[in-house]
């Protein structure tokens, strides 16, 4: 049994860097995207083998699911812009690419290789050195966390660290995500599409089946996060997947979401998190020091709110722009790569 799993690990460890290299070295964008999706899958399996199911869950949702769709939609938009004829085959395009680089580029290569190799070695050495310097690196912080689990309010150690012991970090991460959405929104508006167009029957059925299921699973992941792998981020990512699917299908419901509601959903998580953190100080405690035995309730409350916001934020990032002005209620709210997407192929 152990031997088989050992062999499994070896295959995984060999395949991962090779796949990563092929992905980076690929001259064809589409193939790189497909390789990226595959890499996400192997990465998730690797996290499982490293006994980190929380990370594996996040990687499964983000790496293999959301990012793949994001890249494919971005690629689609790029191709439209450049009027590329790379439609169904990638063979022709590749030859063209290889004729383009002039001899000049080849000449600069050895120096660049040596330099990046040198920097890489320095970086790895620095990383190793700093790991040795870190206090607690010897035995890890596991025992310290395990010792405090009683007052964390949850059973999952990861959730305890993320939302109780180091809640401050998570609060800042939420702000970073919020800023990312603000950044995208400040760049552009989403593109308009024609209304009243329906997705094809296959896509419509898929949406009808999958979206409710995704929402249920998102809620399940948030709930289960208090006792084992799961949590706001994983739940939010699955929720975002539902949003992306709706955007892809360009269903009418998505367009009828008022922009104001969208903004509130975006702010909900960071705002409630921040208010809770400050409210904790009202009782004489420190920032994010949940009063008494109520930590579990507070954590679930914050996680539910942040999951909604993470879901909306990620979906908004996918849409790639702020909704049109509220003064134009007829216009679409969340469009983007999904907007250019014209309804279910050959309906």
């Amino acid at each position: 049994m152990m031997d088989v799993m050992g062999f499994f690990d070896i295959v995984l460890a060999l395949a991962l860097p090779w796949l990563g290299w092929r992905l980076l070295a690929s001259s064809d964008l589409f193939r790189a995207v497909v390789l990226f999706i595959s890499l996400g899958l192997l990465m998730s399996l690797t996290w499982v083998r490293l006994q980190a199911p929380d990370v594996a869950l996040a990687e499964a949702a983000i790496g293999a699911g959301l990012t793949g769709a994001l890249f494919l939609s971005a690629l689609r938009r790029l191709e439209r812009l450049s009027e590329s004829e790379r439609r169904l085959e990638h063979a022709g395009k590749r030859e063209e690419d290889e004729t383009i680089p002039p001899e000049k580029r080849r000449r600069a290569k050895p120096v660049a290789y040596v330099l990046s190799l040198f920097l890489l070695v320095v970086f790895v050495l620095l990383l190793g050195w700093s790991l040795g310097q870190t206090p607690g690196a010897k035995g890890g912080l596991g025992p310290a966390v395990a010792g405090q689990m009683g007052q964390s309010g949850v059973q999952s150690q990861v959730t305890a660290v993320l939302l109780n012991f180091r809640g401050y970090d998570t609060l800042l991460e939420m702000m970073v995500l919020f800023l990312a959405a603000l950044g995208v929104w400040s760049l552009t508006r989403v593109r308009q599409t024609q209304q009243g167009e329906v997705p094809g029957p296959v896509l419509a059925t898929l949406v009808r089946l999958l979206v409710p299921l995704m929402i249920i699973v998102a809620g399940y992941l948030v709930w289960i996060g208090s006792s084992r792998a799961g949590g706001a981020f994983q739940g939010g990512a699955v929720l975002a997947a539902a949003g992306v699917l709706l955007l892809l299908a360009n269903v009418t419901v998505v367009r009828q979401v008022p922009a104001g509601l969208l903004r509130w959903a975006l702010v909900l998580g960071p705002l409630l998190f921040l208010l809770t953190a400050v409210a904790c100080m009202g009782g004489g405690g420190n920032l994010l020091e949940y009063p008494g035995q109520s930590a579990g309730v507070w954590i679930l409350f914050i996680e539910s709110a942040t999951a909604v916001s993470i879901g909306v934020t990620l979906a908004a990032l996918y849409a790639g722009g702020r909704p049109p002005a509220p003064s134009a209620p007829e216009k679409d709210n969340e469009e983007g790569p999904g907007s250019g997407v014209d309804k279910g192929g050959k309906a």
Partner: protein, 87 residues
């Protein structure tokens, strides 16, 4: 018995690697995409087998997320390749 599950998981991992040939070779983009979709299916199977073999229930959740989100890339691909260009 758990050894059997691990062995099956290993076989599926090797099958995934064999599928990489289709991604790298093509010949069409649809072949690459379908190979990636096959990876998703294999990944779900591997996770479920490991969940049985290692007696670790959490892996079923990961398999669930995989299964749910695998369709997303396929939809994006289908729209990209066959979605209307005329509009």
């Amino acid at each position: 018995m758990s050894g059997l599950y691990s062995l099956a998981a290993l076989c599926l991992l090797l099958a995934v690697l064999a599928g990489l040939v289709r991604i790298l070779r093509g010949p069409t983009e649809a072949d690459s995409m379908l190979a990636a979709q096959l990876f998703g299916t294999c990944g779900v199977a591997i996770l479920l087998l490991l969940s049985k073999g290692l007696d670790w229930v959490v892996l079923q959740d990961i398999a669930l997320v995989f299964a749910l989100l695998a369709a997303l890339a396929a939809v994006a691909f289908a729209l990209r390749t066959w979605g209307g260009t005329e509009r």
